[in-house]
């Protein structure tokens, strides 16, 4: 169903390959290969199906898991909070009634929806993947076209296995050079968002390319694609290569045997053609990139750890100036304060951005044999999935964290959005490896600084931000 023989981008290829129907105005009906479902954005969708007497069109292409709502302490006696429990029970019931596979809170395969997709090999190159969650962009790391949808669209996909879509613009983010030790995919993504702004990618799908992207592990690429939405892009993607194939090979839901070989023949074609057109190209040099810390209440409010809190008074536009001043007031910061002088109360490591095994290994390496600062209220590690937790424990990482004074929790979204009991108190200031520093995001009047796992770990030891490049 190729629309044109002109050079095409990776996004063009996957989009074209999934068109079922195209109207004259360009509105397309797109086939959806994989649908991930969680407890928060699905109850109204299943209820819609029930009310209209509709079925799930392709239950075998749908995978449900509980992640947003559940406590990260012991769950063997069930979900403690009543409203959360009702929502979790609703998902369990809906999955059973509509014949959808479901990982409950005690399943070792349970975890954050965007961590378990790749882990299970449910996420595959060249597929279209959706989920009622904006961080679905994560799966683009494997060369899938993956993006978040609202609950009405969740219902639409459940009922039809399709989505009504218009083609987005193509945006290329080219990152060349080599990252300094201690500088990570998280710093790349924060720097890009700082550059293009949180609306910079609106209406676009981002493809990440270049030497520094090729050099990233799959975990790093997932971190990068995950935060595409923070730059306004619904989807971010990286052309699949040997690293992607090696990650997926042997995963439970990945193809096996002859089907794997057949898939590989297709997957190897999944790259942007020479001369393919991009509507916008953004370049970033990895060579001199410093570790990045956010200072405000939008992921575009970022600065080098070696920098200082910027002065909103210098912004010309009035609405923007008052918005950024509001951010500083909310954060309890004064312009000119050095980032390394800001004292912290909480350190939190986890999320679909940075809750994978590589993130935990990197953090453990920094804190091994040391203790977290006594000035902290607490520091917490929340593995992204049961399998990540199991792997970390097999490597003894839990013992390193516990010895250093961290809490070691059960997997879930936890304080990234603070729907469960893990929340900042008003005024508490956190270094967090999550993706959003919005007002109230991690708890009512809580203050969030976004950083990499390495930066969070170093901050936990010092009780304030430290440039990880200066560590031995």
């Amino acid at each position: 169903m190729t629309a044109t023989s002109a050079p095409r981008t990776l996004y063009d290829k996957i989009f074209d390959d999934h068109i079922i129907d195209q109207q004259e105005d360009g509105t397309c009906l797109l086939y959806i290969d994989r649908h991930l479902v969680h407890e928060v954005t699905s109850p109204q969708a299943f209820e819609g199906l029930r009310m209209t007497g509709r079925k799930v069109h392709a239950p075998e292409k749908t995978l449900a898991v509980v992640d947003h709502n559940i406590q990260t302490t012991d769950r063997s006696k069930g979900i403690v909070e009543e409203e959360s429990r009702i929502q979790v029970e609703a998902l369990a019931r809906n999955a059973k009634e509509f014949g959808v596979e479901y990982f409950d809170e005690l399943d070792i395969r349970q975890g954050i929806v965007h961590i378990i997709g790749p882990e299970q090999g449910f996420t595959l190159p060249g597929t279209t993947i959706v989920c009622g969650d904006s961080h679905t962009s994560t799966h683009g790391a494997f060369g899938a076209l993956a993006h978040g949808i609202g609950t009405s669209e969740v219902e639409h996909v459940l009922a039809t296995q399709t989505l009504i879509q218009k083609k987005a613009k193509n945006m290329l983010v080219q990152v060349d050079g080599t990252l300094s030790p201690g500088v990570t995919a998280k710093d790349i993504t924060l720097a890009i968002i700082g550059e293009i702004g949180t609306a910079g990618g609106t209406g676009s799908v981002i493809e990440y390319a270049g030497e520094a992207i090729r050099a990233l592990s799959m975990e790093g690429r997932m971190t990068l694609c995950n935060m595409s939405i923070e730059g306004g892009a619904r989807a971010g993607m990286v052309a699949p290569d040997e690293k992607a194939f090696a990650y997926l090979k042997g995963k439970p839901k990945a193809p096996h045997g002859a089907a794997w070989d057949e898939a590989m023949r297709y997957w190897e074609t999944l790259r942007s053609d020479e001369g393919a057109h991009f509507d916008r190209i953004v370049r970033l040099d990895a060579n001199n990139l410093p570790p990045i810390v956010s200072w405000g209440t939008s992921p575009e409010d970022v600065i080098s750890v070696a920098g200082s809190v910027p002065d909103p008074a210098l912004i010309e536009d009035e609405t923007k100036r008052t918005s950024k001043q509001r951010a500083l007031d909310y954060m309890g910061l004064t312009a000119g304060t050095r980032m390394t002088d800001i004292p912290l109360d909480v350190v939190w490591i986890g999320s679909c951005t940075n809750g994978r095994i590589e993130d935990l290994r990197a953090a453990a390496k920094i804190v091994e044999g040391k203790r977290i600062a006594t000035s902290l209220d607490y520091a917490m590690i929340v593995p992204g999935s049961g399998l990540v937790k199991q792997q970390a424990e097999a490597e003894g990482l839990d013992k390193i964290f516990l010895a250093a004074g961290f809490e070691w929790r059960e997997p879930g979204c936890s304080m990234c959005l603070a729907m469960n009991p893990d929340q900042l108190k008003p005024g508490q200031r956190a270094a967090s490896t999550s993706n959003r520093n919005f007002e109230g995001r991690q708890g009512f009047k809580g203050r969030t600084h976004l950083v990499s796992p390495q930066m969070a770990a170093a901050a936990a030891l010092a009780g304030r931000f430290v440039d990880v490049r200066t560590l031995g």
Partner: protein, 200 residues
């Protein structure tokens, strides 16, 4: 879904950029399994004080704007989470039209599924509309979707663009799923073709 044709209301100015969906509806209200009743939670953390009483400074608490059906807001409205609870909360409060210079993609899309019209205008037009909105109950805006036009209190007009298919669905209150199911044969034909791919 309620069709959208024309709407006349006092517009409420929300002069904040990057209004995210956490701001529109904080996470503690996402534990519902219903679509309705979220109006009281709209902008909760800006709208209420810690003791639960109203924050008089917040625009929707001011007498002129308590019944506004149009919200005029700064750049990049609705960024962040995909939660459809954001348009559900706006709708339940009574807001059926949001005007800004840009919207985040997922929020923009979610609006149309709920009979809310998001309108994109230029920065200059937004400034004019903020001025109109600042006049409180002395000023109303009329939004005409058919004509793709906003008429201000002094008779000045701003035209806007909208995708023809989205406009058609919104004006007629059409259900997407019903429309898609009319293409069932095409979906099945696509799935037959997919069966040739052992891995997919």
């Amino acid at each position: 879904m309620q069709p959208f044709t024309t709407l006349t209301s006092t517009p409420a100015p929300l002069k904040v950029i990057n209004v995210d969906t956490d701001m529109i509806i904080p996470k503690q209200f996402l534990k519902t399994i219903k679509r309705t009743g979220l109006g009281t939670a709209l902008f909760a953390e800006m709208r209420y004080k810690e003791d639960g009483s109203e924050n008089a400074d917040f625009v929707l608490n001011q007498p002129a704007y308590r019944k506004s059906e149009i919200l005029v807001a700064g750049d990049n409205f609705g960024c962040g989470s995909s939660r459809e609870h954001a348009p559900w909360a706006l709708l339940d409060f009574g807001i059926r039209c949001v005007i800004s210079t840009s919207f985040a993609d997922i929020f923009y899309n979610n609006c149309f599924k709920n009979g809310i019209l998001p309108i994109v205008v230029s920065s200059e037009d937004l400034e004019k509309l903020f001025d109109d909105a600042d006049r409180g109950s002395n000023a109303t805006l009329t939004v005409d979707l058919e004509k793709q036009q906003i008429t201000g209190p002094d008779g000045g007009t701003v035209t806007f663009n909208i995708d023809p298919f989205r406009k058609h669905c919104l004006m007629n209150g059409l259900d997407d799923i019903g429309l898609t199911l009319e293409k069932k044969t095409k979906i099945e034909a696509y799935e037959d073709k997919l069966k040739q791919r052992a891995w997919a």
